[in-house]
């Protein structure tokens, strides 16, 4: 049966070729187009797509030097913002080789379940879980809520020992949902309320905490960013807000 089919196909192919050969040049082109245009279009598209795909795959920048998320930011601190430019200038990262990504267009409230029921939060989760986001900055109460999910790095774990020791006066704790992991509060962030993020770039009001994603691929860069924004400060947070409160009381 298979052999018979093959012979039939071969015979048909020979007939078709003979038919095409017997036509004039213009008629031949017209005939080929009329009968085979879906194949021509399909193969043409596949070729163009294949070439583009190979070229793009070969030249695309896949890796990141560092990727950071600033949910609910009050000022623009995304890619090519002043913060981004200053950070790239400080580190000297070559952005033509790897990316430096700052995402500032996510808006969600991790302190309430209703505030997380949106596409922004799902996007954030996808970015953290795939390791696309190395670190996150949010307000204190938001990081405390976010830390419960286990998506932020436990700063008391072994790879973070140096970080833990250096910033122990600034640590922000959270009790994980997963009691098998720990029933006690776990350090998930570093309070950076007196960092340049607040004083120079005014990203948030009142408080700002820096956390590293649990699936980060650029731990060293995440630590370097923290050192850069704190400019060597390691002791307890300078309570700017407390001073402001005292001033307010005096005024009253």
């Amino acid at each position: 049966m298979g052999e018979k089919d093959r012979k039939k196909r071969e015979e048909r192919r020979r007939e078709e070729l003979a038919k095409i050969a017997s036509l004039g040049k213009k008629q031949r082109l017209q005939y080929i187009w009329d009968y085979y245009w879906p194949w021509i279009v399909g193969i043409g598209f596949a070729l163009v797509f294949g070439i583009w795909f190979i070229w793009h795959s070969a030249t695309a920048i896949r890796e990141n030097w560092f990727s950071m998320v600033f949910p609910n930011a009050m000022t623009r601190v995304g890619n090519h913002s002043k913060l981004w430019e200053d950070y790239v200038a400080f580190t000297g990262f070559d952005t033509s080789r790897k990316n430096v990504l700052f995402e500032d267009e996510l808006y969600f409230d991790p302190t309430s379940s209703a505030g997380m029921n949106n596409a922004y939060y799902q996007t954030f989760v996808a970015m953290i879980e795939t390791g696309q986001a190395d670190a996150v900055c949010m307000r204190r109460e938001e990081i405390e809520a976010l830390g419960k999910s286990g998506r932020l790095l436990d700063l008391s774990s072994e790879p973070c020992r140096e970080l833990f020791d250096r910033y122990q006066d600034r640590l922000v704790y959270s009790i994980p949902y997963d009691e098998t992991y720990s029933a006690d509060p776990v350090p998930v962030g570093v309070d950076v309320s007196d960092s340049i993020l607040m004083t120079d770039y005014h990203i948030y009001e009142n408080s700002c905490v820096y956390s590293i994603g649990a699936y980060t691929r650029n731990f060293d860069a995440a630590c370097q960013f923290l050192d850069w924004i704190l400019k060597g400060k390691t002791g307890p947070v300078e309570k700017k807000t407390a001073g402001a409160e005292a001033e307010t009381e005096e005024t009253d």
Binding site: K8, R9, P38, F53, H56, S57, T59, A60, I61, R62, N79, L101, E103, E105, L106, Y107, A119, Y120, Q122, T123, A126, M127, E129, T130, Q132
Partner: protein, 281 residues
């Protein structure tokens, strides 16, 4: 007696029309509110006075100009139309071939393979987000049209819909074509595929609407403003213009324009498509 029957009939008809007018009004109000808010000042927009339906301080068409300048709508329109076009073409092409194979051909493991297709329909789409993102990322296709189209290259729902379509066609057609010497591909492409046009149109409409509404995937895969789509662009504006309702509404009005145009052009097919699949958009 006849008089009273006529009166009853007329009253019934009037009530029916009143009900339909009320329903139509309820459907139109959000849309009208969106357009009217887009033409107000922010002060008017946040006014709680329900009688301020129309702008009181002139019609502020400049709200449209403001958002048009702030966001590159030409790019957003282009990206959205490319996304819709490629998703529709890929979904229809792959679903019609898979539907034919599952509906008409006999091969080993057919039931298991089809069960695998059905399983995809039974789990929430969010489950696939992370593996799909990793695949696109590893391929280096983030911030590209391919990255946007990627999850819509194949569709389980479309395969199912087209399988049903092919199963409903009489076997005699295919047998007659086989006797006339048609190969399997010729039977599919020349005889049966044209007869499933209505199912293909339904699938195309569903795919286009879902591609237009897709929010999360473009937000994840296209972080670059030059590669994102209208839905994701609009979501980002929501954060940026959180308190500027007229600007938000102007952006929303601009965002629905392509879909309105597509609907006006393909109105007949839309209605037929929904009727064919019994679906709800």
């Amino acid at each position: 007696m006849i008089e009273s029957a006529h009166t009853r009939d007329r009253i019934r008809r009037v009530l029916k029309h009143v009900f339909l007018i009320i329903m139509a009004f309820i459907m139109i109000v959000p849309f009208a509110w969106m357009i009217l808010t887009a033409l107000k000042t922010n002060q008017e927009a946040i006014s709680v006075n329900p009688f301020y339906i129309f702008p009181q301080n002139g019609w502020h068409w400049d709200n449209f100009a403001t958002v048009w300048k702030s966001y590159n709508f030409i790019i957003l329109y282009k990206n959205t139309l490319l996304l819709i076009f490629f998703r529709v073409v890929c979904a229809v092409l792959t679903a019609t071939m898979a539907g034919y194979a599952f509906g008409r051909l006999k091969f080993r493991g057919k039931s298991i393979l089809f069960a695998l297709v059905l399983i995809q329909m039974m789990v929430p789409a969010q489950i696939f987000i992370i593996p799909q993102f990793l695949m696109v990322s590893k391929l280096g296709m983030l911030n590209t049209t391919f990255g946007l189209v990627f999850p819509g290259l194949v569709t389980a729902f479309g395969t199912y819909l087209l399988k049903i379509g092919y199963e409903g066609l009489p076997k005699e057609l295919e047998e007659a074509a086989a006797i006339d010497g048609c190969s399997v591909f010729q039977r599919f492409s020349r005889i049966l595929m044209p007869l499933t046009k209505s199912s293909m149109v339904s699938l195309g409409i569903f795919t286009a609407v879902f591609a237009f509404k897709d929010l999360m995937w473009p937000m994840i895969v296209c972080t670059n403003a030059d590669t994102t789509t209208l839905s994701a662009g609009l979501a980002k504006m929501q954060g940026q213009y959180g308190n500027d309702y007229p600007a938000m509404m102007a952006a929303a009005t601009l965002a629905v324009v392509p879909m309105v145009i597509i609907y006006v052009i393909f109105q007949k097919q839309f209605v037929e498509g929904i009727a064919t699949s019994g679906g709800k958009l």
